[in-house]
């Protein structure tokens, strides 16, 4: 069996994101970038399944500018066998990424595709679902536990009502939740070995995929600032303020 893991390069989750002055987007120059956190969980799970002997090969794929391959190198350093970097400039919408991944799936013929449940930059939560639809494969999203069976997976998902366990046939697309596992650290020797692992580069133009945006972004703005709170002397004053000023009761 073979697993393809999709990883995305995003602004590091610790960095305070800043909107560009012309409202055309957010500042990404000289800012620490990292792998999208739930993608790390997807990589970890794929490597764990490989270590259990149920999978022969794990391939990591990313789509993006030259530096996006850092995320693939990081995956290679924690146990992924080889990498693919689809080179493209500018913002790609989930549909375009799904179509690119579809082409990679057709080429590599994996049995499973893993990825994070959503990316922390655009919060779209669409790529996995769209890819499953394009491939006409079953999907399990928000996986917090995965059990590999003979020809299927038993996937536990965290939903509003509690935990839902479903079974999906292989091949399928799985999107991973942060609670799925704790990603391991890359060791120094493994980082060095990762530099020698194969990383194939493909130009997005060579895949014959229409990546034209379907959405026009009008502007990006910062959320309104929260006003600082005040202390009230007693309950009567609180009720009075809630009634007359906040007008919520």
């Amino acid at each position: 069996m073979k697993i393809l893991v999709a990883v995305k390069r995003v602004i590091d989750y610790n960095v305070q994101v800043r909107v560009k002055e012309d409202n055309s987007g957010v500042v990404t120059e000289n800012i620490k970038m990292s792998t999208n956190p739930p993608d790390d969980n997807a990589v970890e799970e794929a490597v764990k399944i490989k270590e259990s002997g149920k999978v022969k090969e794990v391939i990591a794929v990313t789509v993006g500018e030259e530096k996006a391959q850092e995320t693939v190198r990081k995956a290679l350093a924690v146990g992924v066998d080889r990498g693919i970097h689809v080179k493209s400039e500018g913002i790609l919408e989930p549909l375009a990424v799904s179509k690119i991944l579809q082409k990679i799936v057709e080429k590599e013929k994996p049995d499973l595709v893993f990825m994070g449940k959503q990316a922390i930059d655009d919060d779209c939560n669409q790529t996995g679902q769209m890819l499953a639809a394009l491939l006409n494969w079953p999907q399990a999203t928000f996986a917090s536990k995965i059990v590999v069976k003979d020809k299927s997976l038993e996937v536990t998902r965290e939903i509003d009502e509690g935990l839902e366990t479903i079974e999906v046939n292989i091949p399928s697309v799985i999107t991973c939740d942060l609670r799925l596992n704790e990603p391991r650290y890359a060791s120094l020797p493994n980082i060095m070995k990762a530099k020698k692992k194969p990383l194939e580069q493909i130009n997005v133009a060579d895949l014959g995929v229409d990546t034209k945006p379907r959405i026009e972004q009008i502007k990006v703005e910062e959320p309104p600032k929260r006003k600082s709170g005040i202390k009230v002397a007693n309950v009567a004053e609180l009720v009075q303020k809630l009634k007359n000023e906040a007008k919520v009761i």
């Binding site: 610790n14 002055e21 704790e182 890359a186 060791s187």
Partner: protein, 539 residues
Amino acid sequence: MSKEVMEYDAVIVGGGPSGLATAIKLKQLDSNLNICLLEKGSEIGAHILSGNVFETKALDELIPNWKELNSPVKTKVTKEKFLFLGRHKSLSWPTWLLPSVQKNHKNYIISLANLCRWLAEQAEKLGVEIFPGFPASEIIYNQDGSVKGIATQDMGVDKDGNKKDSYQPGMELYAKVTVFAEGCRGHLGKQLIKKFNLDEGKNPQQYGIGFKEIWEISEKNHQEGLVMHTAGWPLDNNTYGGSFVYHAENKQIFLGYVIGLDYKNPHLSPFDEFQRFKTHPAIKKIIEGGKRISYGARALIEGGIQSLPKMFMPGALLVGCNAGTLNMPKIKGSHTAMKSGIIAAETINEHIKENKDLSIYEEKFKRSWAYKELYAARNIKPSFGWGLIPGIIFTGIDQILFRGKLPFTLKHKHADHETLKSANKMPKIDYPKYDNIITFDKTSSVYLTGTNHAENQPVHLKLTNPNLPIDYTLDKFDEPAQRYCPVGVYEIQRENNKAKFVINSQNCIHCKTCDIKEPSQNINWVTPEGGGGPKYGNM
């Protein structure tokens, strides 16, 4: 359990200007040398904070064609100002009356973090192996006592020292020569200076704490290339310090404040002095209508050659501010740090090829332009121990009339942790409230640094005596850690009339001020798990 081992010709600890210059020069001298550089930050530049007005002398020597290689050294200094601030007024000091060390017309306004990122790219192209996110936590010695190398930090250890599922043991890296380039108050450098008595016969090292904010300001207030420094208000005449305001590209200004850590009043809060400084009419009018986009702080070395330790020992060298090569009166250290790295690389190459003793490093350094300028500047900082006005008068005589050649050397008498007076003998300082427009509190400031440390790991700020803060320091000095820490790591919390000393180590921005200023030297800064700490952008 013995750790895995890797061997190199040289291992460099720290990816700042001195370490990167060492790595690049070594590869230029011999591309077959195996060079490894470790950086505790999550990427090169993540822990770099500096003014910075950059003198290109060392870069010209290291990479002469830097202008053609798209280096981030672009904004030329076009104009200079020096202001003396009173509470409400300011007096502009004519630039022709400034000592030549403070003239900047050939220099550039840069982000040192971006320069380091660029230097790292150049180093990697030459084949240097760079590993960000791997702090060197321990020095490994040979049986004869010489330095054998370092060990990297174990990853995935919980707060009680137990191994987590994600546990990853550190490694031992051995080298023919290990280069310590940790910057000011490196925690391994501190151990080496002690073990090998490197500071024997030297004056106690002097430090400062430097703050920096980046502001995006309105076009009408921005003058790209303008460099401005101030002295005076809000500090009193007995506290050493001053500000910098550098107008960089993209309508940004680098706004900062440096305060000598030899201040005496335990009630002084360096952070609040900096915040208050911004409310001066001469400063406020620049940033009004602008937006603060970055914040950070870092300790820096101010001791000069009087405090410069021996820079070599068996198996290892100290470079840059891990030794203390900053030129304080010049307000610059990147060029001298890089120069020390270049000389260290030449030394290592000769040591490996011709078996020359590492002591030639210091001889070479003493013959270099870097040492000459440190020598000429040596008397300025100690003269300010007499107060601001006498310091200025002396500096004028020393620098303008004698060009640093007076036949005597003033001494630094005290280490910075010894200078605090009892809290009850010193005046309390009433700092104004933050307005959240020009001035901000520590919480919203640390937020801008992107600081994080993995949860559930051992506290990396170790107290030698855990009871001392409450039993002694609180009473005697009103626990100054609450104020000298620029991000509020240390707090005194009171419950039922009982005081408790709290360490919020996850906020630590690795500035090392606590390690320096704690009056009993009771706080020891050690490396946290790799990748922790601030994530500075273009600081």
